[in-house]
């Protein structure tokens, strides 16, 4: 209730809408499994969610007050100044619209992509099952990506950033049965994940310097950030994160390998979204971090290098998808280099290029997927001549490829024009003034060349292999619609006679967000004869020249530098890490004794280093006052030490166990003298329970085996070493204990609070009891969960173990199980009638005793736990007296697992009752008073009492599970 009160219905809340819509789609995918929907139907249906998100972003964008960003914040951990916040301005709107818009088409396309009826003959039921997993991953990725571009602070952004890495890992490795998919997925996660870590470190620097993670504060903090001596450090970290994500050279190697993903994923992740995340980040932070020399040089150099490497490698490819992937790498290089320029025109070029690239590249990827789907191959060496068979697809691909080539009248032409205009801008340093245009022209020519061979090789050229020409026909409507829409949009933006003013304004807003000042964006194709046009003509001519010489050029390219060595470096790094991990693992001995030795010795060394040797003055006033209670204390201590030593030196296990029980009882005496009656009581009952289950457990292990193990206990080998290690630990413990005891009394920070408030706040006289069930109630809840789980785990362990043995017994005649019908009593001893009667009497008595403990435990020693153990001990007596089978038959109400479950649920509901009726979770509630019940004095039907009952139930269940399982008759082997 309080949570929602904090979110006032404000306009900013609308920012949640796109995320909620995608999340809704994600939630709906799973139930779709149970429907009879085919993949295309599911695609049409699910694409409604990103479509709705698209319009909600558009709606939110129109709400922007005078171009000021919308900011939404939900407190998350306000104490640490952590919030979940969202932010919408022109730049995030541009990306969000691309993500949801392309995302809609991708989801639609996915449905058809996984629909395999067109390949006649190979149709099988397995082909047509719903690929809900792929839909879910894609929507998950969309959610992460959308969150990333809408994030309003660095922490939120980082979380979504990692979300994109993880969900893209799932998508790339979708066909996980293929090694290439696994390797590609691993590589992309390794590289982008590594970048993510660097990014987080960089973000933390920025947050530290500006004092806030909020985007508003950071965008206003340029002076603090760029003048900081740490600027190079966090800039490098953030750039590293962005470069790895956006596949900048030399981290570009993951992108081509990520092509092992199903094509819808490639079309989405590797054209329009995931790889643009780095670009988005750099653009987003440009107002805060940009404009420095370092920024300019790093972004320009890496950007230009990436542009060239991508364009060059793309020209070598035969497979359509890697070809497109490398041209994407090239384009990403262009975008990064543009962000580095920090001029008005560069940002104009940036936003136009982002949109143009998203449109044509997603269309081309989807077209490549259709070609693959219809013909069964994506290899240019096998394709060709599909123009007549697939006219629609030919048209779509041609338009998109023309846009990619940057030819008029397409949107891509406009993008290249503005890009070339950037290249000729006079404010740039002279070196780049020469290099940037040259490289841009060269890359432009290479990209045109690639677009050319794509269209030529698939549709226009005669079949590459005349004996086996590729066959295919145009796909179904929805399938080609998905690539056709962005392709047509590229055409429409280019050819509309009236300049689309709203789009230009929209892009200008986006560019403004990057630049920090107003940017003029015009979308007119024809700007007169000027330098960009001339450069463009040069680039186109060069590209056409290359294309004309393609049959000579391509073999030459393939022969030259077969592969760059970056992959070798990557593989070397991964192998090195593997080797390191392997070596480190070899240091693990795998023996507990060795670990214990290391732990003890290092603890001792650490203590000596940190604290030093004990001061001798401490030992000067050692007092030996053994009068009165001290005498009893000394007695209990002597018993403890003697019985403790006996557990080592007694050769028979049973005697050792009894000595252990004696130690526990002596400890209880010591505790009672502390005086700590509550603890002493629990110690006594637990000590007895422990001894009982230990004896039961011992009985389960063959005597011969135990005797053999005892030889080892007393063998001389390693004895001195073990005693030395153990003795060292004992000395250190004795020393620290002595120091602590000598320094008593000292001020306690918390205990007085409990002592003063136990009675007024909880109504309990017993302060310890009040701490356990009220002040630290959650602690106790977890404690009984652990105890309950121990019993259930034991049950599982035995159930599993004995089931195996039962199977073995059925197969091997040597093993025989002693199950029903064996003599009474766990030890198979004849039991006397007196004992029977005693057992009958003791169980109800134990229940009464338990009830008083629970009812009055709040003012006296005793609690639900003690009650539970007392009752369990009475049950244990039944097991011993009547035997396993009879007890189970005679106590049919004792369903152990139900007891545990009921106890835990009751405890939980009781705690929730405090939330509803009281001040909060676990707050005390007096139900007796609330209902004005007539109750005996001293007993309150309070939440504390209910909690005690819950504890008691859990303990009865769990402890009887322990007794039951450890006391179950074993199999015997005839050996």
């Amino acid at each position: 209730m309080r949570l929602f009160a904090k979110i006032r219905p404000m306009i900013e809340t609308v920012l949640l809408l796109p995320l909620v819509l995608i999340a809704l789609g994600l939630l709906i995918v799973l139930p779709l499994r149970r429907t009879a929907l085919t993949n295309p139907q599911a695609g049409w249906f699910l694409s409604l969610f990103p479509l709705a998100a698209f319009f909600s972003v558009l709606y939110a964008y129109n709400l922007l007050p005078n171009g000021k960003p919308l900011f939404f914040r939900l407190p998350w951990l306000p104490l640490l100044d952590l919030h979940f916040s969202l932010y919408l301005d022109g730049l995030s709107a541009l990306f969000a619209l691309i993500i949801t818009g392309i995302g809609t088409l991708i989801i639609l396309y996915t449905g058809y992509y996984f629909h395999h009826t067109s390949t006649a003959g190979s149709h099988s039921p397995a082909d047509s099952h719903l690929e809900f997993r792929f839909f879910a991953y894609t929507l998950l990725f969309m959610l992460a990506m959308l969150g990333l571009v809408l994030a309003g602070d660095l922490i939120t952004m980082f979380i979504f950033w990692e979300g994109t890495s993880i969900s893209s890992f799932l998508l790339i490795g979708y066909k996980y049965k293929e090694e290439a998919a696994r390797k590609g997925a691993f590589k992309s996660l390794f590289i982008t994940g590594g970048g993510g870590i660097a990014l987080l470190a960089g973000f933390l620097f920025v947050i530290h310097l500006t004092g806030s993670a909020d985007l508003n504060a950071i965008l206003a903090g340029r002076d603090v950030l760029t003048t900081s001596p740490l600027y190079p450090v966090f800039f490098t970290l953030i750039a590293f994160g962005a470069f790895t994500k956006s596949a900048q050279f030399p981290a570009h190697i993951w992108l081509p390998e990520a092509m092992s993903a199903p094509t819808p994923a490639s079309a989405f992740l590797h054209s329009a979204t995931m790889v643009k995340a780095g670009v988005y980040l750099l653009a987003r932070l440009n107002p805060a971090l940009g404009g420095t020399d370092l920024w300019f040089w790093v972004l320009s150099l890496f950007g230009i290098a990436t542009m060239l490497v991508g364009a060059y490698l793309g020209a070598k490819q035969n497979d359509l998808k890697p070809l497109l992937a490398y041209s994407t790498v090239s384009q990403l290089g262009v975008l990064v280099a543009l962000i580095g320029q920090n001029t008005e025109i560069a940002f104009k070029a940036l936003v136009i290029s982002i949109l143009a690239h998203a449109l044509y590249k997603s269309a081309l990827f989807m077209a490549a997927g259709i070609i693959d789907h219809e013909t069964g191959t994506r290899d240019l060496r096998k394709l060709g001549g599909l123009r007549k068979q697939m006219p629609i697809l030919f048209g779509v691909t041609a338009i998109a490829a023309l846009s990619m080539a940057g030819l008029p009248p397409l949107f891509g032409f406009l993008a290249k024009e503005t890009l070339l205009a950037t290249a000729t801008h006079p404010t740039l340093p002279p070196v780049v003034n020469a290099i940037f245009p040259l490289t841009t022209v060269l890359a432009g020519a290479l990209i045109l060349f690639q677009a050319g061979i794509l269209v030529w090789g698939v549709f226009l050229s005669p079949p590459a292999d005349p004996k086996h020409p590729a066959h295919g026909h145009d796909p179904r409507f929805g399938f080609w619609l998905a690539p056709a829409l962005p392709a047509l949009l590229s055409l429409l933006i280019g050819i509309t006679p009236i300049e689309p003013a709203s789009l230009a304004n929209f892009l200008a807003e986006a560019a403004k967000a990057v630049y920090g000042a107003k940017v003029k964006v015009s979308l007119a194709l024809w700007t007169g004869i000027n330098v960009p046009l001339i450069l463009s003509i040069v680039a186109v001519s060069l590209g056409l020249l290359l294309f004309w010489q393609r049959n000579r050029l391509r073999p030459a390219l393939m022969a030259f530098l077969p592969n760059l060595t970056v992959n070798t470096l990557f593989d070397g790094t991964v192998q090195g890490l593997d080797w390191l991990a392997h070596t480190a693992t070899r240091l693990q001995a795998g023996r507990m004794r060795v670990y214990l030795r290391v732990i003890v010795l290092s603890a001792v060394v650490l203590l000596l280093l940190l604290v030093g040797l004990p001061p001798l003055t401490l030992f000067q006033n050692v007092q030996w006052n053994l009068m009165g209670l001290n005498g009893l204390r000394a007695f209990s201590l002597v018993v403890m030490a003697t019985a403790g030593l006996a557990t080592v030196f007694l050769r028979r296990d049973l005697y050792a166990v009894i000595a252990l029980g004696l130690v526990g009882l002596a400890v209880a005496i010591w505790m009672a003298l502390e005086p700590a009656p509550d603890v002493a009581l629990v110690q006594v009952v637990v000590d007895i329970l422990t001894t009982v289950i230990l004896i039961l457990g011992l009985n389960a292990i063959p005597r011969k085996q135990r005797a053999r193990a005892n030889e080892l206990l007393h063998s001389r080998r390693g004895m001195t070493r073990d005693w030395l290690v153990a003795g060292l630990l004992g000395l250190v413990v004795a020393w620290t204990t002595f120091t602590a005891l000598e320094l008593r009394p000292r001020q306690s920070l918390v205990s007085p609070y409990y002592a003063q408030n136990a009675k007024p706040l909880t109504g309990a006289k017993d302060i310890v009891g009040a701490i356990v069930v009220d002040f630290r109630g959650s602690d106790t809840l977890i404690e009984i969960m652990v105890f309950g789980m121990a019993g259930v785990a034991l049950y599982t362990l035995f159930h599993f173990g004995t089931r195996q043995l039962e199977e073995r017994a059925a197969k091997e005649p040597g093993v025989k199980l002693l199950l029903p019908g064996t003599p009474k009593g766990i030890y198979a001893l004849p039991t006397s009638p007196l004992l029977h009667t005693l057992a009958y009497v003791i169980l109800p008595l134990a229940f009464m005793l338990g009830a008083t403990h629970m009812m009055y435990g709040h003012d006296q020693p005793g609690d639900g736990f003690t009650a539970g153990v007392i009752i369990s001990l009475a049950i244990a007596m039944w097991y011993i007296v009547f035997g396993y089978e009879d007890t189970r038959r005679k106590l049919p109400w004792l369903n152990r697992n139900h007891f545990v479950a009921a106890g835990l649920l009751l405890a939980l509901f009781n705690a929730l009752g405090g939330l509803v009726l009281g001040a909060g979770f676990f707050a005390p509630v007096d139900y007796g008073k609330l209902l004005s019940l007539p109750l005996p004095p001293g007993f309150a039907l309070s939440s504390a009492f209910v909690f005690e009952v819950a504890i008691c139930l859990t303990v009865i269940g769990s402890a009887s599970l322990m007794i039951d399982n450890l006391g179950r008759p074993r199999e015997e082997e005839n050996t």
Partner: protein
């Protein structure tokens, strides 16, 4: 008196550790139970002050520190649960490997 308490706790720790360092897993379990007791005593001695009366709000004289008591109470229960589970493991290990020698229990390492 304090020195006697400290020494006893030290002895208990040493015995328990010795048991756990040996190859006999049954005795190692006993060592585990022993060290749980010793740790509880250790926790007690970390209490801020000693008392004459038990920690009740009706007490007239100095009460004993209630906080370590509450912590020890929890610790006793948890160690009892853990100990029962260890016994179950001992049984499973002994049926599967036919031994109680920790060095012969191979194959759990990897």
């Amino acid at each position: 008196m304090n020195i006697l308490t400290a020494l006893t706790i030290g002895i208990l720790f040493a015995i328990a550790m010795y048991q756990m360092l040996r190859r006999n897993v049954i005795r190692a379990a006993i060592g585990l139970a022993l060290i749980s007791n010793a740790i509880n005593l250790y926790l007690f001695s970390m209490g801020a002050y000693n008392g004459v009366e038990a920690a009740y709000s009706t007490a007239i004289a100095q009460i004993s520190d209630p906080l370590p008591q509450a912590l020890v109470l929890t610790a006793i229960v948890i160690s009892a649960g853990g100990f029962a589970f260890v016994l179950g493991l001992l049984y499973v290990v002994s049926t599967r490997y036919k031994t109680s020698d920790s060095d012969e229990i191979e194959g759990l390492k990897h």
